[in-house]
Subunit: 203 residues, 2 copies
Amino acid sequence: MPRRVDHEERRTEITEALLRVAHRRGLHAVGMRDVAAEAGVSLRLVQYYFDSKEKLLLHGLRTLVERFSARTAARLAAVPGSPGPRETVEALLMAALPADEESRVFHHVYTSYAVLAMSDEALAGQPFTGDPDAAEEAVAGLLARGQADGTVPAEVDARLEAVSLLAMSAGLGTGVLVGQRDVPSAVAAIRYRLDRVFTGRAG
Amino acid sequence: MPRRVDHEERRTEITEALLRVAHRRGLHAVGMRDVAAEAGVSLRLVQYYFDSKEKLLLHGLRTLVERFSARTAARLAAVPGSPGPRETVEALLMAALPADEESRVFHHVYTSYAVLAMSDEALAGQPFTGDPDAAEEAVAGLLARGQADGTVPAEVDARLEAVSLLAMSAGLGTGVLVGQRDVPSAVAAIRYRLDRVFTGRAG
DNA sequence: ACGTTCATGGTACGGTCGTATCACAAAACT
DNA sequence: AGTTTTGTGATACGACCGTACCATGAACGT
């Protein structure tokens, strides 16, 4: 019964199936047939909507990145009150933690892509982040604002501090991901560090 | 010409072949035949010395971990002079950076194993580090020594600071690995952070 | 009304993968 | 010397994998 169908919607469904099975069985192990079964369609349809596995994978990566940026933006917008630099930076760093299931899926699959990209022709040099070091820029800016506020000491190097905070957050994230650390301990580390950066002697 | 042969040596050669090809083509893509070709032996021999691919992979992981611990220990022993806490911590954090080729290989393959372990029955719950959070213990201890010295402020929480430093180092490492950051900038971030932790007002 | 396009199913093909099997020569043991 | 063990090669097997091909019915254009 071939009713006319929305291609983009179909592609989205299949992509979501891809991400689910990639999380469940590992990206390296996902085959076209698995994706088809997960999406509840025939193998042929996966071929139909994505011409090849490579294109499917690339689309999956793009989707993943877009979704994560959107989610992070939403998180930032959801900070209550009129957030100062400290609250915003904290929200930013927390967003990089695989705390809920959606975030765990993202981190797992995203990391898989990153590892894959290190030795895969087609994936290498792919847009892994919307704007690379946009986050670095943002955090550095917020720290500078904190210095203007007087909540961040003048001796702090905003750029290096931003790099170090983001790297820490990423490191904690993978620690959580591989089960070496739990979420509360990661949150505690982030809060501790922010407490030390924002000595907060002014308002 | 079946001369009597040293099994352990043969296994080592094959394992090294495995690690080389895992770095070159990606761990997910390595097959028994690739390993055999890289080691210059027949497929049969890889089966002979390791019964199955799973055992080969597990042995590869063990080798990788042992080698890295040994290397890190050597680095620590090689710190010149009579190193204080600061120098030792710095050496520890630097050792986690994929700076030279050997280290890059380690990080790449190790990360691949970690990702694989997240969805592979046999790899999950495998000894991924000799003693988990041995590093954390060590760094925390060194920071405490610094506090006794007076080179580290008393308000520093040694444990949380250790966690944050190690997470940062790990994060910088993967940043370098995926080409998002270069080694000098990672080193700069580490030095900056250590400068701020070790305010060094005593001797 | 009819031919074309669209959406879909089924299935076959060539390749690769891990593993198993068969064969056989050199060495070691007795 | 004869037999058993050990190291090695070649090759076969069954399962998958990504892709290509063929068929077909519903919907649409004219």
